[in-house]
C-alpha cells in the first residue's frame, strides 16, 4: 500500500469556448522515503496534479473525477478535511522564493504563526522548534537570523526558509513545484541536496515537479512523464530515462542537450515524418554572403559598465560594477558563448555590443571600426544593420499590435526605403519560410503563435537586415526542451548556411556546449576564463568553471 495514491484524477477547466482537460485519468502513487519526479512541458498538467492534491485548483477549474488517498484516507471526500491536511500533513514548496514569503513579517513570525496554527505549542516551544528547523535546512546562526525579514536573505537562503516553513508541522508528504527553476545552478544543487537529505532523514514522500530532465536524473527515484494532461509513462527513473517505452518520452530525452559531448544536431522525433530538405533556407539567394576571413569580427577591449543608483551625483559608493574590465574577440563565422549565473553581467555586455547601453569605459570594435566612439545616428545605422539581436522572452520581444508582416518588414523598409511592395512581400515570405513558418503567418498577429513560433518570428526579424553578427541573449531559456532543440537546430542551420557570427549568451552549460566554438565564463562582471569549448569542458582552468561544471545537473549521471 503506497502512501499517496492518486486514482483516475481528472481536472477540467471550463472555458468560454471549450472545456480543457488539464488532467485526464491520472494514476500516480508515491511511497514514503521516495522522490517522485513529475516531468512534462508547459501545459502538460504537471502543476495541476500537484495543486489538485491540496485542492488549490483555481476557478474555473474543478476536479471532475477521481480520488486522492493519503495514508488510507480519501482527503477529498470532505471539503473541510483538506484544510486539516494542507500544511499539516502536506507541505508545499513553490517556485519563486521572492513571492512565497510575506515581506512585512520576519521569518520567525511566519514560522511561529504556521507552527501555532497546526500544532498546539506555546510561544517558547514554537520558537525553539522554528530555530531547530532553520538549523536543519542549513541556515547558519539561526538564532540571530530568526528576526530577519525575507529581503535580508539571498534567493537560495530564502528557498531554504520556504522549505523550513513547509516542514514545520512535520508533514509526511512534500510537494515541490519547480523549487529550483528560479535559482542559479550552484544554489540549485544545494537545494536539491537538501531535499534529498530531508527525504531520507524524515522518511518523507516527495513529489518534485520540474521540466528539467537533469534535475530528474540526479534527484528522483521514480519519474512520471505527462503530456497534455495524460500520464504518458511512469517508472523507476533509471529505467525510464535509459529505455523509454513511449515515443514521447524518447523524444523528450533526446532533445535534452547532452553535457558530455557535442552533437551536430538534435534529434527531433516527430510522429509525422517531415521531410528535411536542405533547400529550406530560401533567403540564401538574396544573401550577400561574406567570405569567412580569418579576422576578428568583434573585438572587445577592457569593457566596463557601472550603473549608478544616484540620479544627480555620480557617487562611487552607490554604483554597481556590472561589467568589470572584460576583453575578448570573436572571429568571423564563429559561435562565441558567454556563460555566467544571474548578475554576472553577460546580458549587459550583449546590450553594449548592440549599442543599447554606452560602456562606462573600454571600446568595442566591429570589423576594425570602434563603434563605441560613433556619435551620429546616421553613421550608427550602418552598424545597426550588421548587428542584430534575439531576446530571451518571446512574449515581450514582439509588438502585439502589429501583424507579423509589419514586424518583419520594418527593418527591411528602414534600411532599404526604395523596396517595391512586391519585392517586400517576396522577401517576407522567404524569411518566414527560412525560419520554418508558413506564408500565411504574415497576416496574423503575434498572440496567435506559441512561444517557439514567436521566437522564430524574432529570428526572421533579426535576419531581415542581413546581419553579420547575431547576438542571442538566452534565446531558448523560456522555451520547453523539445522546442529548444528545434530552435537551436534552426540557429545552427542558419549559421552554417549564412556564415553568421553568433554571440550566444546562456546560463545553461549543456546548451552552450552544443552551440559554441569558444566560451567565456563570467562571474560578477569579471572574466574567469576563455577557451575552446572542448577544452573548457574537459580541462577547465578556473576554479569557478570547475565548480559550475561539477554542479550542473547531468542527465548522463543516470548511466553510472
Amino acid at each position: 500500500m503506497s502512501f499517496l495514491k492518486i486514482k483516475n484524477l481528472s481536472v477540467d477547466y471550463k472555458m468560454r469556448r471549450e472545456t480543457i482537460n488539464a488532467a485526464k485519468n491520472v494514476n500516480i502513487d508515491v511511497n514514503k522515503g521516495e522522490i517522485l519526479g513529475l516531468v512534462g512541458e508547459s501545459g502538460s498538467g504537471k502543476s495541476t496534479v500537484g495543486n489538485a492534491i491540496i485542492n488549490l485548483i483555481d476557478e474555473p477549474g474543478r476536479v471532475s473525477n477521481g480520488s486522492i488517498v493519503l495514508d488510507g484516507i480519501d482527503i477529498h471526500a470532505d471539503a473541510q478535511n483538506i484544510v486539516k491536511y494542507r500544511g499539516k500533513k502536506i507541505g508545499l514548496i513553490f517556485q519563486d522564493p521572492q513571492t512565497s514569503l510575506n515581506p512585512i513579517l520576519t521569518i520567525g513570525e511566519q514560522l511561529i504563526e504556521t507552527i501555532q496554527t497546526h500544532l498546539n505549542l506555546n510561544a517558547d516551544d514554537a520558537k525553539n522548534k522554528a530555530i531547530n528547523l532553520l538549523k536543519e535546512v542549513g541556515i547558519k546562526e539561526a538564532e540571530t537570523r530568526f528576526d530577519n525579514y525575507p529581503h535580508q536573505f539571498s534567493g537560495g537562503m530564502r528557498q531554504r526558509v520556504v522549505i523550513s516553513l513547509a516542514l514545520c508541522c512535520e508533514p509526511e508528504l512534500l510537494i515541490a513545484d519547480e523549487p529550483t527553476t528560479a535559482l542559479d545552478v550552484s544554489i540549485q544543487s544545494q537545494i536539491l541536496d537538501l531535499i534529498k537529505k530531508l527525504t531520507k532523514e524524515r522518511n518523507l514522500a516527495v513529489i518534485l515537479i520540474t521540466h528539467d530532465m537533469g534535475v530528474i536524473a540526479e534527484t528522483t527515484d521514480r519519474v512520471a512523464v505527462m503530456k497534455n494532461g495524460d500520464l504518458v509513462e511512469i517508472g523507476p527513473t533509471k529505467e525510464l530515462l535509459t529505455k523509454p517505452k513511449e515515443i514521447y518520452t524518447r523524444s523528450l530525452v533526446s532533445s535534452v542537450p547532452p553535457t558530455n559531448k557535442k552533437i551536430s544536431r538534435f534529434k527531433i522525433i516527430e510522429k509525422e515524418n517531415k521531410k528535411q530538405s536542405d533547400t529550406n533556407i530560401k533567403i540564401l539567394n538574396r544573401w550577400v554572403k561574406k567570405e569567412i576571413s580569418d579576422k576578428d569580427l568583434v573585438k572587445v577591449e577592457s569593457l566596463s559598465k557601472t550603473f549608478d543608483d544616484s540620479f544627480f551625483i555620480e557617487s562611487s559608493k552607490n554604483s554597481v560594477m556590472a561589467v568589470n574590465d572584460v576583453s575578448f574577440s570573436i572571429k568571423e563565422g564563429q559561435s562565441f558563448g558567454l556563460v555566467g549565473e544571474s548578475g554576472s553581467g553577460k546580458s549587459t555586455i550583449a546590450k553594449m555590443i548592440v549599442n543599447l547601453f554606452k560602456p562606462s569605459s573600454g571600446d568595442i570594435y566591429f570589423n576594425e571600426v570602434c563603434i563605441t566612439k560613433i556619435k551620429s545616428n546616421k553613421e550608427m545605422l550602418k552598424f545597426r544593420k550588421q548587428i542584430q539581436m534575439i531576446f530571451q522572452d518571446p512574449y515581450s520581444s514582439l509588438n502585439g499590435r502589429l501583424k507579423v508582416k509589419d514586424i518583419v518588414s520594418e527593418p527591411i523598409k528602414l534600411h532599404n526605403p526604395s523596396v517595391s511592395s512586391k519585392d517586400l512581400d517576396d522577401y517576407i515570405s522567404d524569411l518566414l519560410e527560412s525560419v520554418e513558418l508558413t506564408q500565411q503567418s504574415a497576416e496574423r498577429y503575434p498572440h496567435e503563435f506559441s512561444g517557439g513560433q514567436r521566437q522564430r518570428i524574432s529570428i526572421a526579424r533579426a535576419l531581415a537586415t542581413q546581419p553579420r553578427l547575431l547576438v542571442c541573449d538566452e534565446p531558448t531559456s523560456a522555451l520547453d526542451v523539445s522546442i529548444q532543440a528545434q530552435i537551436l537546430n534552426l540557429l545552427k542551420d542558419l549559421q552554417e548556411q549564412l556564415n553568421l557570427t553568433i554571440l550566444f549568451i546562456s546560463h545553461d552549460l549543456p546548451v552552450v556546449r552544443q552551440m559554441c566554438d569558444r566560451i567565456a565564463v563570467l562571474k560578477n562582471g569579471k572574466l574567469c576564463e576563455i577557451s575552446n569549448t572542448e577544452d573548457l569542458f574537459i580541462k577547465p582552468k578556473h576554479d569557478y568553471t570547475k565548480e559550475l561544471l561539477k554542479l550542473m545537473p547531468k542527465i548522463e549521471s543516470i548511466y553510472k
Partner: protein
Amino acid sequence: MDSQRLTLLSRIKDSDIYFSFIKSPTAIVSSVILIIIFFCSFFVEFVAPFNPFDPSSLSLMEAFTPPSWSEKGMDKYILGTDGQGRDMLSTILYGSRISLIVGFSAILFSLLLGVTLGLTAGYFGGKYEMIVMRLTDVQLTVPSILMALLVDGIARGIISRELHDEMAIYVLIFAIGISEWPQFARVSRAATLVEKNKDYVSASTIIGVSNILIMFKHILPNIMRPVLVIGTIGLALAIIAESTLSFLGVGVPPTTPSLGTLIRIGNDFLFSGEWWITFFPAIFLVLLAFSINLLGDWMRDTLNPKLN
C-alpha cells in the same frame, strides 16, 4: 474588401471584449442609453418636435406650461415649456448637443496634450521628464473649476465683448481641457515606462528605428487601453464641469443654452413651483453622466484589470 470587412466583424465577435460586453447587462443598458442620447443630440433638427431658437415657433402665451401628464399640461409639450414658451424636450436635446460637443472636444484636447507629454516624458526620462511631471503636480493642485474660472477671466480680458459670446465655447473647451490633461499624462507616462523596457522596443532600437517612430508606432498603440479608460471616465467629468461652469454663468451664453445653462435658468423658477424647468435637464444630465461612468467602469474592468 467585402471579405475583409467580414473577417473584421467576425474578429470583433470572436474577441473577449465582445464576450464580456454581452455578458454585462450594465454595459449593454448604459451603451443603449448613450446611443439614444448621442443619436438624438446629433440629429436634433430631425428628432426634436420644435426648434426652440426659431422665434416664430415661440408663443409667450404658452410659457410655463407644465408637463403633459399634469392637469394644465398640453399634449404637444411633453415635458412642458420654460419661461419663454420654449418646449423643454427640444431645448434639452439642443442643450445636450452643446454639452456633448464641449465634453468631447475638451477631452480630446486634454488627451492629445496629456498623452504627448506623458509619452515623451516616459520615453526620454531625465530632466525633461522631471519638468513635465512636476508641471502635472502643480496643475493637479489647482481645482479644475478654479482653473476654468481663471481661463475664462483671462479670456474675457483679452477678447472683446462682442466676440466673447462667439468664442465662449472655445474658451470653455480650452478651460476644461487644460485642467484634465494631468490624468492622461500620468497614466501614459506610467504605461510608457513599462512598455519601453520591453524587448520589442529594444529590438526596434537595434534595427535603427528613430525615437519618434518607436514612440508613436510601437509604444502608443500599446498604451491606448488605459488611456481610453481614463478618457471615458474623463468625458463624464468634462460634461459635468461644463454644466457646472454654465450653471455658474461663465460657460456658454444663454442664447445657445447647454444643459448647465438650462438648469441655472430653471433654478430661478424652482421656488415659484415651476419645477420641471430645472428638473428635466438635471435628470438628463445625471442619466448621461451616469451611463458614461458605468460604461467607463466596465471598460476599466475589461480592458485593464490592473488599473483597479
